[in-house]
C-alpha cells in the first residue's frame, strides 16, 4: 500500500467519522427538541389536573386549609414556568414575552395569598358588571354577589359602579398616601375614569339623583358594614348639586349644597357632561367625609368602598329577608319574608313566602290603606269595593308575580352569598324591579342539629351515588331536561335532572335549585358552572332519570350525593350551616380569587391577533398558548429545519407507490427492524393507524384520473415553483415517529400534507393537527377538493378552516379508539384525494366522493353512541 492510498483511506475515514458525528449531534438535538414538546404536553396535563383539583375544592366536598392553597399555587406556578421555558427551548426563544406575563400573574397570586389587597389596587373604579371575585377585598362581597346576579337572575341588580378604597383615597385631598408620591397623577386618573362612568350613567338615567352607599370592606373582619349613604342631586339647570346624607332608614339627615359654579365654568361642558362633573365633585366631597371618618377609626386602617347608582323616585321599595326575624310578624314560621313599603310613609305590607318552588304565598299582613292611596300601577284605592273589587283599601301593594320573582332572586342570592340575607329592592317608574343592596342577616335561631339529625333519620332515600359537583342542599319538583329544552321554560327553583352533563344546560342551572345528571363527571365543564353558581349538584348518578320521575318533590344533598323523597325542611335549613364551605369562609374567598388568575381561558382562537403572550390573563391562557404554539412549531417543523433531510432516515417499503423516509425518535419502530422498514415493524401507534388507512385498497379508485391540459396549465406556476425548488429543501416524504407521536410531511404529486399527532391512553394529551394544500388541478377543482376534505374532517368532529385550497384542522382531547379511527381515515383520505384530485368535474362530484368514501372509513363517527359531550375541557 502506498502512502497516498493510506492517506486517502485515513482522510475518507476521518470524513466519514465527522459525518457520523454531525449526524449524531443533529439527531440528539432533534430529540431534545421533541422532548421539549413532550414535556409541554405532560406539564400542560399536570397543570390542568392541578387546576381541576383546586377548582373542585370550591364545591365543598373537600376539607382544606390555607396550606393547600399555598402548595397548589406553588406547584401550578412552577409547572407553568417550566412550560414557558420548554416552549422557548423548542422555538429558539421566540416567546420570551411569556416570562413577563408569567411573572405578573405569579405576583398577583402571591399577593392574594399574602392578603395584600394592593394586588389589584389600580382598579379605582369598577362598573358593577365588571366586578368579579378577585375584587372582593376591594368592594365587598355584597357587590360581588350583586354582580353575579346580572347574569342569572330574573330581577336584575341596579346599574351602578364601585369606587374602591384606592379611588376614595385618590379623591380625598387630605389623604397624602405614601408620602404623597404621585398623588396628583392618581387624582387625575381617577377623576378621568369616574367622569367617563358618570357621563354614561347620566346619559342612561338623565335628571336622576345618584345614591352613594359607603361600606366597610375589611378582609377578615365583619364585612358589609354600611358606614353611611348619600344622595347626590343635580338641579335642573345643572348649576349646583345637593348632597344629602341619609340615615339607615333612607331619610335625610344632613343636606349640603355644592354650589360649584367654578367647576361648571371651567369645564364649559354641556348637558350630561355638566351633570357628571357636578356628581364627580359630590363624590370627592363624600371621599373627604369618609377620609375624616377614617382618621377617627383608630390605628387599625379601615377600608371603605362606594357603590354609586341612579336613584329615581320609585313606585315601591322593600326588603326581602331570606329567614324570618323576631322583628317581623311571621317570626315563628319558616319562609321568606317580604316587606313592601309604599311611598309617602304609608304603613308597609308583609308577606311570608315558601323558600322552595313555586315560592307561593303562605301568609300575608296587608295594611288598610287610606282612601285615595295610589297603588304602584297608578290606580287609587277606593272605599267602594264594588267599583274596583281588586283595589280596595285593603289590597296588597304588590302583585303575586313580583313577590315570586323577588323570592326566587333572594334565594339565588342567599345561595351565592352562602348565608341568610336582607335583600333590598325597588320598583321604578319604568315598571322594572331592581335589587339595590344586600346585607347579611344575623339569624337569631341557630340551626337545630339534633332535629336535623333526627329528621334525616326518618327520611326516605330515593337514590344515592355519583360524584359531588357542589355540596349543599336544594329541593323542589323534578324536571327532566335536555339540550333541546328552551331554558326559559324551566320553572325557577325546580330540580333539573338530565342524562348528560352537556355544557348547553348552563342556562338551566341559572334557574334550578339543584342538578342531577346520569352521566358526566364532577371535573367537567357543567360541574364548574354549578360550582360557580354554588348549585347543589350530583354528577353520574346511575339511573337518575328513571328513579326520579318528573314532578316528584325531592331534596338533593349534593355533599352526600343523596336524593331524598319530599321536601326535607330541616335539611334545607341545615344546608346553610358551618359544615358547608361558603363565601363566608376566608379560604373559600381566597380560593375563588386565586382561581380567577389561574383557571379562566380567555385566549381561545389561535387565528386572531389577540392570541398573543401579552393578552394572557391566567395560567390557563399561558399553557394553552404554549400548547398551540408548540403544535404549530412541529406542524411546520420540517420546513423550518430543512437540514433534517441530511439525517440518517430509513426507507419504508409500502405496497403503494409512495416513498416515505422514517426517522425514529424513540419507540417508533421495532428495535430489531431491518434498515428497510416494513409496515409491520412500525411501533408508532399514530403512524401505524395512518398507514393502515393509507394502504387500504378501498381508498384506491380503479378509474384512472383524467388530467386535462387545463389542469396542467393552471398549475404551471405552482408546479414549476415546486419543481425548481432544490431537492434538499423540497424534501421527500418524511415521518418523524415516536411510540405515541407522528409528524408526517407528504408531498404526493403536488399535494403538500402535514399530519402532526399524539395518540396515547391519556385523552387529555391526544390530538391531531392536519394541513393539506396544493394539487394539480384548476382553482375551482381545488376548491371542491378542499370542501370535500373539510366535510370528511367535520364528520370526525375536527375543528376545520378553509382558505382557498388550504385546509387546516385540529382534533383534541379524543378517546384513543376514536383518534385511531380518525388517523386511519386520514390515511385513506390521503390516498383517495391524491387519486381523485383531477377527477372532479362538477359540484355534484363532491357529494359523490363523500358517498363513496364515508361508508368505508367514517362509519365509526356515525355511530359514536353515548359520548359525554359535557366533559370537554377546552
Amino acid at each position: 500500500m502506498d502512502t497516498v492510498s493510506a492517506l486517502r483511506r485515513w482522510w475518507s475515514g476521518l470524513e466519514a467519522g465527522r459525518r457520523e458525528a454531525r449526524q449524531e449531534i443533529d439527531f440528539w438535538r432533534l430529540q431534545a427538541l421533541f422532548n421539549n414538546f413532550k414535556r409541554i404536553l405532560l406539564l400542560n396535563n399536570a397543570v390542568l389536573e392541578d387546576m381541576a383539583k383546586m377548582e373542585r375544592a370550591l364545591g365543598g366536598e373537600y376539607i382544606f386549609d390555607r396550606a393547600f392553597l399555598e402548595s397548589s399555587v406553588s406547584g401550578i406556578a412552577n409547572r407553568v414556568h417550566h412550560v414557558v421555558y420548554s416552549l422557548n427551548a423548542l422555538t429558539g426563544n421566540h416567546h420570551v414575552a411569556l416570562y413577563d406575563r408569567y411573572q405578573d400573574i405569579r405576583t398577583l397570586l402571591d399577593d392574594i395569598l399574602a392578603n395584600n389587597i394592593q394586588a389589584l389596587a389600580d382598579e379605582a373604579v369598577l362598573p358593577l358588571r365588571a366586578i368579579g371575585w378577585e375584587h372582593e377585598p376591594l368592594v365587598g362581597m355584597d357587590l360581588v354577589c350583586l354582580a353575579a346576579l346580572s347574569a342569572s337572575a330574573q330581577i336584575t341588580p341596579v346599574d351602578g359602579l364601585a369606587v374602591t378604597q384606592d379611588g376614595i383615597r385618590a379623591l380625598d385631598p387630605s389623604d397624602l398616601g405614601d408620602a404623597g408620591n404621585g398623588k396628583g397623577q392618581r387624582l387625575a386618573e381617577t377623576r378621568a375614569v369616574l367622569r367617563e362612568h358618570l357621563r354614561r350613567l347620566v346619559k342612561v338615567h338623565p335628571g336622576v339623583p345618584v345614591a352613594v352607599v359607603v361600606s366597610r370592606v375589611d378582609e377578615d373582619e365583619e364585612s358589609l358594614q354600611e358606614a353611611g349613604s348619600f344622595l347626590l342631586n343635580v338641579d335642573q339647570e345643572r348649576r349646583e348639586a345637593s348632597l344629602a346624607c341619609e340615615d339607615s332608614r333612607g331619610q335625610t339627615a344632613e343636606r349640603i349644597i355644592l354650589a360649584d359654579r367654578e367647576i361648571h365654568r371651567a369645564e364649559e361642558g354641556e348637558g350630561e357632561n355638566d351633570a357628571a362633573e357636578l356628581l364627580l365633585h359630590g363624590l370627592e366631597r363624600i371621599a373627604r367625609i369618609v377620609g375624616r371618618k377614617t382618621e377617627t377609626d383608630g390605628p387599625q386602617r379601615v377600608n371603605y368602598a362606594f357603590f354609586v347608582h341612579p336613584q329615581p323616585s320609585s313606585l315601591l321599595a322593600g326588603t326581602i329577608y331570606t329567614r324570618p326575624l323576631s322583628s317581623n310578624p311571621f317570626a315563628a314560621e319558616d319562609g321568606l319574608v317580604a316587606e313592601v313599603v309604599p311611598l309617602h310613609g304609608a304603613p308597609g305590607d308583609y308577606f311570608l313566602l315558601r323558600r322552595t318552588h313555586p315560592f307561593e304565598l303562605i301568609r300575608s299582613l296587608i295594611q288598610i290603606h287610606p282612601a285615595g292611596h295610589r297603588f304602584a300601577d297608578g290606580r287609587l284605592a277606593s272605599a267602594d269595593s264594588t267599583e274596583q273589587p281588586h283595589l280596595s283599601r285593603g289590597s296588597a301593594s304588590v302583585e303575586p308575580g313580583l313577590l315570586r320573582g323577588l323570592a326566587e332572586t333572594a334565594m339565588l342570592l342567599e345561595r351565592i352569598f352562602g348565608a341568610p340575607l336582607e335583600v333590598r329592592w325597588q320598583l321604578w317608574n319604568d315598571g322594572a324591579c331592581r335589587i339595590t343592596r344586600l346585607r347579611p342577616l344575623v339569624c337569631e335561631v341557630a340551626p337545630d342539629l339534633a332535629a336535623a339529625a333526627e329528621e334525616s333519620g326518618e327520611t326516605t332515600i330515593i337514590c344515592q351515588g355519583g360524584q359531588t359537583g357542589q355540596s349543599g342542599v336544594g329541593a323542589g319538583p323534578v324536571v327532566h331536561v335536555d339540550e333541546a329544552m328552551d331554558p326559559k321554560t324551566f320553572p325557577p327553583g325546580a330540580v333539573a335532572v338530565a342524562r348528560f352533563a352537556s355544557p348547553n344546560l348552563t342556562p338551566v342551572l341559572q334557574r334550578a335549585a339543584a342538578l342531577i345528571t346520569e352521566f358526566g363527571s364532577a371535573a367537567g365543564h357543567l360541574a364548574t358552572v354549578a360550582r360557580e353558581l354554588r348549585l347543589p349538584s350530583i354528577f353520574g348518578l346511575p339511573g337518575a332519570l328513571g328513579l326520579l320521575p318528573a314532578g316528584t318533590e325531592v331534596t338533593v344533598n349534593g355533599g352526600e350525593t343523596t336524593v331524598y323523597r319530599g321536601i326535607v325542611e330541616t335539611m334545607l335549613r341545615f344546608g346553610a350551616t358551618d359544615m358547608e364551605l361558603t363565601p363566608q369562609d376566608r379560604e373559600y374567598r381566597m380560593l375563588r380569587r386565586l382561581l380567577r388568575f389561574i383557571q379562566p381561558l380567555h385566549l381561545v382562537d389561535p387565528k386572531t391577533q389577540e392570541f398573543a403572550p401579552e393578552n394572557c390573563q391566567s395560567f390557563h391562557d399561558i399553557i394553552h398558548f404554549c400548547h398551540e404554539q408548540a403544535v404549530e412549531e412541529l406542524a411546520h417543523f420540517q420546513e423550518r429545519w430543512p437540514d433534517l433531510g441530511t439525517m440518517r432516515t430509513r426507507p419504508l417499503e409500502l405496497d403503494v407507490p409512495l416513498d416515505i423516509q422514517v426517522l425514529d425518535i424513540g419507540g417508533g419502530v421495532l428495535p430489531e427492524a431491518d434498515f428497510r422498514l416494513r409496515p409491520g415493524q412500525i411501533e408508532s401507534v399514530p403512524f401505524a393507524a395512518f398507514l393502515t388507512g393509507l394502504t387500504d385498497p378501498r381508498a384506491r379508485n380503479p378509474d384512472a384520473p383524467s388530467l386535462g391540459l387545463r389542469d396542467i396549465l393552471a398549475s404551471m406556476p405552482r408546479s414549476m415553483g415546486l419543481l425548481t425548488t432544490p431537492v434538499d429543501t423540497l424534501g421527500g416524504n418524511l415521518a418523524i415517529v415516536g411510540s405515541e407521536y407522528l409528524n408526517l410531511s407528504l408531498r404526493m404529486g403536488y399535494h403538500f400534507n402535514v399530519i402532526d399527532a399524539y395518540l396515547g391512553e391519556d385523552v387529555s394529551r391526544n390530538y391531531v393537527y392536519f394541513r393539506f394544500v396544493g394539487g394539480l388541478a384548476d382553482p375551482e377543482r381545488r376548491g371542491w377538493r378542499a370542501r370535500f376534505i373539510a366535510k370528511v374532517l367535520a364528520t370526525m368532529e375536527f375543528k376545520t378552516s378553509i382558505e382557498g385550497d388550504l385546509v387546516v384542522a385540529r382534533l383534541k382531547l379524543t378517546e384513543p379508539d376514536l383518534l385511531r379511527a380518525a388517523l386511519l381515515a386520514l390515511g385513506a383520505l390521503t390516498t383517495f384525494v391524491r387519486q381523485q384530485d383531477t377527477n372532479m368535474h362538477s359540484e355534484a362530484d363532491l357529494a359523490r366522493w363523500y358517498a363513496t368514501f364515508a361508508p368505508s372509513f367514517l362509519a365509526t363517527f356515525g355511530e359514536q353512541g353515548i359520548r359525554e359531550a359535557g366533559d370537554e375541557v377546552h
Partner: protein, 138 residues
C-alpha cells in the same frame, strides 16, 4: 330505603387544627351524627384539656406551632390508651405516616380530604368499639 341514624352511642371527640376552617367544618359534621365535639386551634390548650378529660376520638393536625401532632398523639394515649387518634396533615410523607402509625395512630389522612373519609374513619372506630368486624377493604 329508609335511613337510620347509626350513631348508637354518642362519642366524645376532640378536634385540634391550627387552621380554624378545619375545626369549623368538622365540628357540625360530627354533631349531626349525635357526637359531642370540642375544638382547639392551640395544641397546648388541647393537651391541657386531654389531661383533664377523656375523649373517645382525637382528630389532630400534624404540623403546628408549639406541640406537634405526634406530641398530641402521645398525650392522648398517655391520658387514655383507649383514645383513638386520627392524624390529618397537609404535609403527608411516607415517613410521617409510618411514625404516626408506630406511635399508635388509628389512621392517617392527607389534606385535603373528603369529609366522608373522616366520617368513615370514625365509623370504623365505632364498629371496632362495638366489636364488629372491619368492612372489606379496610
Amino acid at each position: 330505603m329508609t335511613v337510620t341514624n347509626d350513631a348508637a352511642t354518642p362519642l366524645r371527640i376532640l378536634i385540634l387544627d391550627d387552621e380554624p376552617i378545619v375545626c369549623k367544618r368538622l365540628k357540625p359534621a360530627f354533631q349531626k351524627l349525635g357526637h359531642t365535639v370540642e375544638t382547639f386551634t392551640d395544641s397546648g390548650q388541647a393537651l391541657a384539656r386531654l389531661r383533664e378529660a377523656v375523649f373517645d376520638i382525637v382528630v389532630t393536625d400534624l404540623k403546628m406551632e408549639g406541640a406537634d401532632g405526634i406530641q398530641v398523639l402521645n398525650g392522648a394515649k398517655a391520658s387514655s390508651p383507649e383514645t383513638q387518634v386520627i392524624v390529618i396533615t397537609g404535609f403527608a410523607t411516607l415517613e410521617t405516616a409510618k411514625e404516626s402509625y408506630r406511635k399508635g395512630a388509628f389512621d392517617f389522612v392527607a389534606k385535603p380530604f373528603k369529609l366522608r373519609d373522616i366520617l368513615d374513619c370514625v365509623k370504623r372506630i365505632e364498629d371496632r368499639r362495638r366489636g364488629l368486624p372491619a368492612e372489606p377493604g379496610q
